[in-house]
C-alpha cells in the first residue's frame, strides 16, 4: 500500500505533546511512532525529547575519536620530523622533547575534536538534507509541526487526531 505524509501545525508545545501522546498510544495500521513521526520546532525544546522518548545521540563518539586522532597524529608527525635528525648533535638534549611537543599535541587534540565533532553532527543530524516531503516556513517562525508517514488507509484517522487537538493547518502529500 502506498504511503502518505501529513504535516499538522500547532500553536504551542502542549498541544503538540498531546498529539504525540495520542499517536504513540494509538493503533494505526502502518504507522510506527518511533520511525514515522517527526516533530519540527522553531526552538530547541527539551520537553520534545521527553514526550518523544529518549533517543541516543552519537556525536560524542565522533568527538572522542577526532580528539584522540588529532592528538596522536600531531605527536607522531612532530616526533617523526624531530627523529629524522637523530644523527645531529643535540648537546645532551632529547631528540624528541616531550614537554614542548605536548603544546602542539594539545592544539591538534582540540582541532581534531572540533572538526570531527562538526562532521559527526552533520552525519548524525542528516545534514545537508533535501527538503522533507512537507515543510512549512511557519515552523521556523512560531509553530510546531508534526510530520507523520502512514498508509493511505490511515489518513482519515490521523486527520481526526490532528483536528481533535486543534491543528492550525494540515498538509498532505503522497509519499515516495
Amino acid at each position: 500500500m502506498s504511503k502518505r505524509y501529513l504535516l499538522a501545525l500547532y500553536n504551542n508545545f502542549d498541544e503538540a505533546e498531546a498529539v504525540v501522546s495520542e499517536l504513540r498510544n494509538s493503533d494505526i495500521k502502518g504507522f510506527d511512532a518511533a520511525d514515522d513521526l517527526v516533530v519540527k520546532s522553531p526552538i530547541e525544546h527539551p520537553e520534545v525529547e521527553e514526550f518523544l522518548g529518549e533517543k541516543p545521540v552519537k556525536v560524542q563518539w565522533f568527538t572522542l575519536g577526532g580528539a584522540l586522532t588529532g592528538g596522536l597524529l600531531a605527536f607522531t608527525l612532530i616526533a617523526g620530523s624531530q627523529a629524522s635528525f637523530y644523527s645531529q648533535m643535540k648537546g645532551g638534549k632529547p631528540i624528541v622533547p616531550i614537554p614542548p611537543d605536548l603544546v602542539l599535541t594539545y592544539e591538534m587534540f582540540i582541532l581534531g575534536g572540533v572538526y570531527i565533532t562538526v562532521l559527526g553532527f552533520l552525519i548524525c543530524a542528516g545534514l545537508p538534507a533535501r527538503r522533507s516531503p512537507l515543510y512549512s516556513a511557519k515552523v521556523s517562525e512560531d509553530q510546531i509541526g508534526i510530520l507523520v508517514k502512514a498508509e493511505d488507509g490511515s489518513v482519515a484517522k490521523l486527520r481526526e487526531i490532528f483536528t481533535k487537538h486543534k491543528a492550525l493547518e494540515i498538509q498532505e502529500e503522497a509519499g515516495r
Partner: protein, 461 residues
C-alpha cells in the same frame, strides 16, 4: 533593574525585527562602512609602500625590531576572546542573558583573529616568508622548530580561527534557515538555502545540535586560554628584560578578556542603534556586560600589580630598569595613560547611573580599549629600546606614519568585515532569543500560579 527582555514579544515579531536588520539599517551603517573602507585604503597604501621599499620605512631598526605591528597583533588576538567568553563560558554557566548578544561577539572573535593574522605577514615585510612559521619542510627537509612558541602561535591561531568559524557557523544554522524561509528572491535566498543545509528544526536535528554546540563550546574555552598563553609565551619564554615573567600567560588572558568585553560594549551600542535592536540589546543586558567588564578589569589590574611587584622585588636589575624607564622615560605618558585607562577609568563602570547611560558607556568602552592597546605597546616597545646592553639602547625610535597607517587601517578592516557580516547574517540569534522569551514566560506563569495558589490558600483559611 528592569527585565533583560520582554516575555510577551511574539516569536514572529522576533523574526521580523531581526530580518529587517538585514535589509534596512539606519543611514549610519553606510557612513560607518564608507569610513571603514577609507581606513582600509590608508592601510593598503601604507602596506604597498612598505612592501616595495622595505621594513625600514616603518622606522624599524636594531634593537627596535618589533613595533606597533606586534603590539596590535596581540591586541586583536585579545579582542577575539570576548566571543568565547560570551558564547562558550556563559553558555556553560546557563547565563541566558547572553543570548541576544553572543552572535556578534562570536563574529568579533572570527574577524579580530583574521585581522590579527594579517599583522603576522605585515610584520614580516616579505609576506611569503610566513611559511617559515608553518609546519612545512624546506627543500632540504629541514622542518621548522617545533619547540618555538612562534610556531605554536601559528598553529594555535589557525586552530582557534577555524574552530571559531565552525562554532559561529553551526550556531547560525537555525537562523540561516529562518532567513531562507523568509527571504524569497535574489542572491540572498540562494546563499541562505546553501548555508542552511536543509535545516528544518526536526527533533533529530535539535538533539544533535545541542550536543554539538555544547561540545564545541567546551573545546573553545581551553583553546582560547591556550592561544593567549602561547602569545604570552612568545614573550615570556625569551630572555628579554621585562618579559621573562611567570605571570605573563594569565596576565595576557585577563587582558584579552578585558579588551574583548570593552569591545563588546562598544559594538553593542553601535549595533543597538544602527539596526534598531533596542528591544533585544536592552539596557539591563548592557548593565550585566558592564559589571562583567568591571570584574575582569579588576583581575587585570591585580595581575598588573603582580607583574610590577615581581619585577621590583626580583633583583633583576635590567627588568627593573625597563620598568623605571616605562614610568619615567619617553614612554611615561603612554604608560600612565595605560594605567589610567585600564585601571582607573573602569571605576566609572561602578556608577549605577552610568551603567545604563549609552553615551557614557560608549566613551568609557573606547577608553578601556585605548588602555588595552597601550598595554600591548608598553609590553613590546620599552623592552626592545632598553635591553640588557646600554650600547643597544635606543629610546628615540618613533614608529613612522607607515606603521601608524597600517594600525589605523586594521580597525577599518575589522569594522568592514564585521559590518558586512551583520548585514548578511543575523547579528541577534533569533532562535535563542525565542528560547529566552519562552523560558522566561514559563517562569513568569509559574510564579503567577504560585501567587494565586498562595492567595487561594490564605482565603480558604
Amino acid at each position: 533593574m528592569g527585565k533583560d527582555i520582554r516575555e510577551d514579544i511574539a516569536w514572529a515579531q522576533i523574526n521580523k525585527d531581526v530580518l529587517k536588520s538585514l535589509e534596512s539599517p539606519r543611514k549610519l551603517y553606510w557612513v560607518i562602512l564608507l569610513v571603514a573602507i577609507a581606513m582600509v585604503g590608508v592601510a593598503v597604501g601604507c602596506e604597498i609602500y612598505q612592501y616595495n621599499v622595505g621594513l625600514g620605512v616603518g622606522n624599524f631598526d636594531n634593537p627596535n625590531v618589533w613595533g606597533l605591528y606586534i603590539a596590535t597583533f596581540i591586541f586583536w588576538i585579545g579582542m577575539s576572546h570576548s566571543g568565547t567568553l560570551l558564547s562558550a563560558i556563559l553558555h556553560l554557566m546557563h547565563a541566558d542573558w547572553r543570548k541576544p548578544i553572543y552572535r556578534f561577539a562570536e563574529a568579533m572573535t572570527t574577524f579580530s583573529l583574521m585581522t590579527a593574522g594579517l599583522f603576522v605577514m605585515v610584520h614580516l615585510g616579505r609576506l611569503w616568508q610566513v611559511y617559515y612559521a608553518l609546519p612545512y619542510p624546506s627543500e632540504r627537509w629541514v622542518w621548522p622548530n617545533f619547540q618555538s612558541p612562534l610556531l605554536w602561535d601559528a598553529m594555535a591561531i589557525f586552530t582557534y580561527l577555524s574552530s571559531s568559524v565552525l562554532f559561529l557557523y553551526i550556531g547560525s544554522i537555525p537562523d540561516l534557515a529562518i532567513c531562507r524561509d523568509n527571504i524569497h528572491q535574489g542572491w540572498r535566498k540562494k546563499l541562505y538555502s546553501i548555508l542552511a543545509l536543509g535545516w528544518e528544526g526536526t527533533d533529530r536535528q535539535w538533539r544533535n545540535f545541542r550536543i554539538t554546540y555544547l561540545t564545541v563550546a567546551c573545546f573553545l574555552i581551553p583553546l582560547a586560554v591556550s592561544v593567549h598563553s602561547i602569545v604570552a609565551s612568545d614573550f615570556a619564554m625569551s630572555q628579554q628584560p621585562g618579559w621573562h615573567v611567570t605571570s605573563f600567560p594569565p596576565y595576557f588572558v585577563a587582558g584579552a578578556l578585558y579588551s574583548g568585553c570593552a569591545a563588546i560594549i562598544t559594538l553593542f551600542i553601535i549595533l543597538r542603534y544602527v539596526f534598531r535592536f533596542e528591544e533585544y540589546m536592552t539596557l539591563p543586558i548592557l548593565k550585566k556586560t558592564v559589571r562583567l567588564t568591571f570584574a575582569i578589569a579588576m583581575v587585570w589590574t591585580y595581575l598588573n600589580c603582580i607583574e610590577f611587584a615581581a619585577t621590583w622585588y626580583s633583583h633583576d636589575e635590567a627588568a627593573k630598569a625597563v620598568l623605571i624607564e616605562k614610568a619615567t622615560g619617553r614612554f611615561a605618558p603612554f604608560f600612565w595613560g595605560m594605567i589610567f585607562c585600564g585601571s582607573v577609568v573602569p571605576f566609572a563602570l561602578m556608577v549605577k547611573k552610568w551603567q545604563t547611560s549609552i553615551p557614557v558607556m560608549f566613551a568609557v568602552s573606547l577608553l578601556l580599549n585605548l588602555g588595552m592597546w597601550l598595554e600591548r605597546w608598553m609590553i613590546v616597545a620599552p623592552t626592545f629600546s632598553h635591553g640588557y646592553y646600554p650600547w643597544t639602547w635606543d629610546e628615540h625610535m618613533w614608529p613612522s606614519m607607515v606603521q601608524w597607517g597600517i594600525v589605523f587601517g586594521s580597525f577599518g578592516w575589522f569594522t568592514l568585515l564585521f559590518m558586512v557580516f551583520c548585514k548578511v547574517v543575523p547579528s541577534v540569534s533569533m532562535y535563542e532569543v525565542k528560547e529566552m522569551v519562552y523560558h522566561r514566560s514559563l517562569a513568569k506563569k509559574k510564579e503567577e500560579q504560585a501567587v494565586k495558589e498562595e492567595l487561594a490558600a490564605k482565603g480558604a483559611n
